[in-house]
Every structure is written in structure tokens, then in C-alpha cells.
Symmetry: C2
DNA sequence: GTATATTACGAAAACGGTTTCGTGTTGATA
DNA sequence: TATCAACACGAAACCGTTTTCGTAATATAC
């Protein structure tokens, strides 16, 4: 550790000015208890030596850290970064810092991260479940935390098995809107590219997709549903999927699937959007700069982050004991670009 | 605040087991001073009631928070997210948490964030300067922090005016390599799309570009250099730029410029890469999924993050007083894709 | 002149740990 | 049996604040 011309403390000021620590503390808070003269002297001295109270000591005393723990599966996905930005924005305005932990889609990491933070480092959690956690269905780490009285806000990838505040977009509606949009353009053979079912969001989007088809009197054909792993998508699988089916539109549960499969379609000679249309989820850079640009269901990540932070901080700062939890559902919106007609 | 079945403390254990706090503390650390019997009793009790030491108290005592402050201009850019991931990975393995603050390219926010964290919340900073800070050239907030003995590691967007550890890629070499690659493909009229000069990285990349041209006996034509604002790129400007010049290759200082201008070129009927080649910086999702996929200079963000974290933690945990700073320069590498010939 | 209020400050506990040092008890040694 | 080391534990200081409560000194009231 380098040479610390370390920070000045209350004690230092007290010693230097020959008053007590309590007097210094009160003077710096402009307490009525202290005389004008003394206050001015102390404040001037503090300013001169650039006194700043030690956050850790204050945290210990108040049992409030003014830190928020954010645990998310991945940070490289555009959606999550926008959520973080939203959280940061609101939290910062309220004087809170954001501690970011990545579960990397691993259950164990999620647990470890939470334990690490739950021992006094943070006032509350904002989190989105890892896929492994959702697959496993084990939420004891969340319950332990909430039972300790640490507020938790779950966003996007949530579970009903934990009682806490939640923020989601209506993913089913998102899937529904997207599919309806395709139907409205005269598409009849609408495929779905999704992940495994255990991801709550994919499941809901799939439901919306099916609902829209049924409502439009179109058959739900399971062979038109392709499940892909999140990492390392297999180009051939998609190629075969496109070949074996007569497909005139595809809804994908994320940006990457959409952009990736669009390229495969282009390579196979399909015209987008005339012969085959595409809609994805997440209004990120990829969609915007893809070629053709991608029509998507926007998830409003930043708004989601702000709301999550607001719900959490409200709870953290609220006095009342009664536990009432709410689930906020945001409406997804369609951002129409060139991968769909007009 | 919800009902806290709040955490058990040393004091609680001591009271319950009728021993002193010191004994409990030592027993839980498996100290030789305490008898087997007592240790077992205490440890069993602690396990039963799931005792976890309070991080804040430990921080106050040790004057070590095990938190790292990361201040970056933006989190939605792929490069920065990969750096964060690298930092997180290394820091977590070492038992550190990562507090992320966004300056949003604003000098003031950068200063506020640093002040907020510098009062005991963190053991050190890892940061990349906001564009406003670089434009302004005011680094007093950094100096104040280092003078307090708080270690700082600057990465990517750095300055020579502050003495601290630094991690960068050789941006000049990156620009050089990219340009040479284009030259090697027989391109003679190589354009550059960049930002304003105050961004240290853009400047260096431009230098590399010029160096490569000169070395190849190609003229450096300033009219072939287009400066674009980071946000809201103007399509028409690019179109005019392409029209007014006879350009057979473009190097862009980031992914977005590259992908965006590629689309403009395609719309104008250019064939990529035969008639006009493109190279960008940052090996992100955009480059990978662009159409055509984009050849880029990879910045190895994750590695950069790991190294930054390592340098910082080394300094934080080092005992010796002598201040020696190093600058680590990573080599950029070319990732060749379809926007350049073969 | 005495009783009471007010002013201005300090002592000390508290937050939850760690760590140094002191000490009563035991057992071994001479 | 006196001496001493080893053992096992507790008291207390400390980290840097906040806050309650007590109290001397002064001012006010009667």
C-alpha cells in the first residue's frame, strides 16, 4: 500500500482544536447545540483539511451502507447493461452505489455472490436469475436473504416461489404482439426460435406466440419451433430448419438468434422481409445496425432498471414493518425496422 | 424496512454460551489459544445459527473494504462490458467486490463518483477517462485520490499527467496493423473514420494509420479522414464522404462507425469487400453478427480487465511503500472476417 | 440572593468485529 | 513445596462515526 497521507478524522480535528470529538461531529452537522464561534472554527478547519467522513464508520453506525447489490447472469448482453444503466442512474441520484456481481448463468456463483454481499455490504438486492437457477428451481438463497430482512427486487428472470418485489415486461404480450404483427402482414407459417423452456422469459414469449396463432386460426406446429442453446448456435441446425419447413416468418426470443438466423436465411437466398420476415427481442445495437435492421420487441431495460432501483430504495428507506410486495409489469413495444414488411 | 430476523453477532454467541466476545472471535478463527472443547462448542453454535461476520465491521477494523471502484464512461459499449467482466472475474477470485460507477462521458459525474467512493468505500480505483475529462485535461480529482494513497489503475483512455499504473492496448499499432492489412490487399485509397482528436485512443489509432500509409508510400490525404460525433452519426455525411472520394477501403476507430458506414456503402451499391473493404475496432457482437461480418482490431477487453484488477490488487495488498508505477501495453490482434478480402 | 432555564460542551456507549496483553489455573520441574 | 511455563480465557483498546445524557457556566426570573 502506497504512502498514505491518510484522511483526517474527527479525532484529528478534535485534538488539533482542543475540543471533544462530539463537539466536532455536531459542529460539522451544524447542530444548534454548538456556538457560532466554535462551529465556524471547526468548519473552517475541516474545509481546510478537506475532511470527509468515513463511509464505513457511518455504515457501521447506521446499519445502512447506501450500496445496492446487483446480481445478473451476464453483463455482455445489451439488455442487462441497459438495466444496469437505469439502476445506476436512479441509485446515484439517491446517493447509492451499485455493486455489480455476475453469476455467469451459474447457480453456485449466484449463491456465492449473494452470500458475499449479504453480510453487511449492501442494503438490498436487485437481481435477475441465472438460467441454471431457473432450471434447478432452487431459490433457498433468495429466501435466506429475504428472511434476514434484506429487501430483494427481482427483474426479468423471476420466479413465483419467492415473495418479493418484481419487475418484468409482459413477455407473453411481447410474443403475442410480435406474432400478431407477422400475421397482420399475411404470414401464415410463422416459426419460433427459442431457448430451452426453463428460462421464464422464453416460456412466456412462446405462450404469447401460440396464443396469437390460435387466435388467428393458424395451427401451432411444434416442428416449427426450434430450440437453440444460448451459446454456440449451430448454423447447420438453422439451415436445416429453414430448409425442411416452409417458413415465411420467424420470431426469435432474442436479438442474437434473430440476427444470426437472418444471415443464414440470406445465405440461403431468401429475401428479407418479402419471403421471410424476422422479429427479435431486445432493442439493442445489434438490431439497430443489423443488415437488414431488425424489427424487435423492445424491453425497455433502462426503465426497468430505474423502476427496480426505485422499488428497492423505497423499501430500504421505508419505516413500516408490513411486508407488501408488488409486481410491476411493463408493456413491451414493437420497434419496426426493415426485417418486416413496411 | 422489513422485519429483520437480523443476523447473529459475536456478542450474541458470547452471551448465549457464557464466554467472552474475544473467546468467540478466536474460536471461530480456530486460534490455538482456545481449547478444543470450547472451540467445537462455539463453532457448532455458530454453524447452527449461521453466523457470518459483518463485513462492514471488519472493513472498519482492517481499513480494507475488499471493494474495487470501477469508473467508466459508458456501460453499453461492448468493450467496456468485457473489461468489467475481466475485472469481476479476477477480483471475485480474490474475494473483492466491484462497485461500478458510470461517468456517462461527463467530467462532473466522474468527479462526484470518485469522491463518493474515495471516502472509505473502496480500496482502489480502476478507471477509464470520460471524453469530457480528456477534452478538458483536468486531472486533479485523480491526483487528489492518489495523494491520499488510494491506488489507481487507468485503462484504455489514459493520461500521462497522472502517475499511476496503466493498461492500454497499443492503439497506434492497432491502427497500423489494420491499415497495413488493407494496403496488403492492394488498397490504395484508404479512408479513416474517427472521432475528435481529444480521445487518446482515436488519436493513437490515427497515428498508426498515417504511419502505415507513409511507410507504404501512400499519401496521407486529410480529406480522406472523416470525423464523426460519437452519438447520432449523420448518414448523409458518410454518403457524401463516400461519393466525393474514390475510396477503396475504410478503417474506423470503432465497431459502430464501421457497421454503420458499411450499410451506407452497401446502399450506395458498393461491393464489400471487393470494391471497398472495412476494418473496425473492438471485437464485439456487432462485428461478429454484422452482414458482412466485420474484420476488426481486437482490443482484448477481458484480458485488459483482468490485468487491471491484478495490478490494482497487487498494489492494494503490497506492503512496501515505494511507489513504482508501470504501464502495461497489450498487443492488439486482427480478427479477419468478411469485410476484408479473404 | 436563590431557584430555574438556557447555553455549550464533554463523556461515554454503541455499531461489530480484531488483537494485544494480562491473569487465574493447571501441571511439570527441581 | 516453591517456581515456572503452558494453557485457556477475559478485559479493554481500537477502527471512525453518531447520539444520548450529564453538567459546568452563564443567564433569567422571582
Amino acid at each position: 500500500m502506497p504512502n498514505l497521507k491518510s484522511k483526517i478524522t474527527l479525532k484529528d480535528i478534535a485534538r488539533e482544536l482542543e475540543v471533544s470529538i462530539s463537539t466536532v461531529s455536531k459542529a460539522l452537522k451544524n447542530s444548534e447545540e454548538i456556538s457560532r464561534d466554535t462551529k465556524e472554527k471547526i468548519q473552517a478547519f475541516a474545509r481546510l483539511y478537506n475532511y470527509k467522513p468515513n463511509n464505513i464508520a457511518i455504515s457501521l453506525k447506521n446499519k445502512r451502507t447506501k450500496n445496492i447489490g446487483v446480481v445478473i447472469p451476464d453483463i455482455v448482453h445489451h439488455f442487462f447493461t441497459t438495466v444496469i444503466r437505469g439502476i445506476e442512474k436512479y441509485a446515484n441520484a439517491k446517493g447509492y452505489n451499485v455493486i455489480v456481481c455476475l453469476s455467469e448463468e451459474s447457480f453456485d456463483k449466484e449463491v456465492i455472490n449473494m452470500e458475499m454481499l449479504a453480510n453487511g455490504s449492501i442494503d438490498g438486492f436487485i437481481m435477475s436469475l441465472s438460467s441454471e437457477t431457473q432450471a434447478k428451481g432452487d431459490y433457498n438463497h433468495l429466501r435466506e436473504v429475504t428472511e434476514q430482512g434484506i429487501p430483494v427486487v427481482l427483474f426479468d428472470r423471476i420466479t413465483n416461489e419467492v415473495e418479493c418485489d418484481k419487475v418484468v415486461i409482459d413477455d407473453q404480450l411481447g410474443g403475442y404482439l410480435a406474432t400478431k404483427k407477422l400475421v397482420g402482414q399475411g404470414k401464415k407459417k410463422i416459426a419460433l426460435i427459442t431457448t430451452d423452456d426453463y428460462l421464464s422469459v422464453s416460456k412466456a414469449r412462446t405462450e404469447g406466440y401460440k396464443k396469437a396463432l390460435l387466435e388467428s386460426n393458424l395451427p401451432v406446429d411444434e416442428s416449427r419451433i426450434l430450440k437453440l442453446p444460448t451459446m454456440d448456435m449451430d448454423e447447420n441446425k438453422i439451415r436445416k430448419f429453414f430448409n425442411s419447413q416452409e417458413i415465411d416468418a420467424v420470431m426469435c426470443v432474442n436479438e442474437i438468434f434473430a440476427v444470426f438466423s437472418m444471415r443464414v436465411a440470406l445465405e440461403q437466398g431468401f429475401k428479407i422481409p418479402e419471403e421471410i420476415s424476422f422479429i427479435g427481442f431486445t432493442n439493442g445495437l445489434l438490431s439497430k445496425y443489423a443488415n437488414p435492421s431488425l424489427t424487435v420487441v423492445a424491453q425497455h431495460g433502462e426503465r426497468m432498471g430505474e423502476i427496480s432501483a426505485q422499488m428497492l430504495i423505497d423499501k430500504v428507506e421505508s419505516e413500516n414493518e408490513e411486508e407488501t410486495f408488488q409486481t410491476k409489469i411493463l408493456e413491451p413495444t414493437l420497434v419496426v425496422r426493415d426485417s418486416t414488411i413496411n
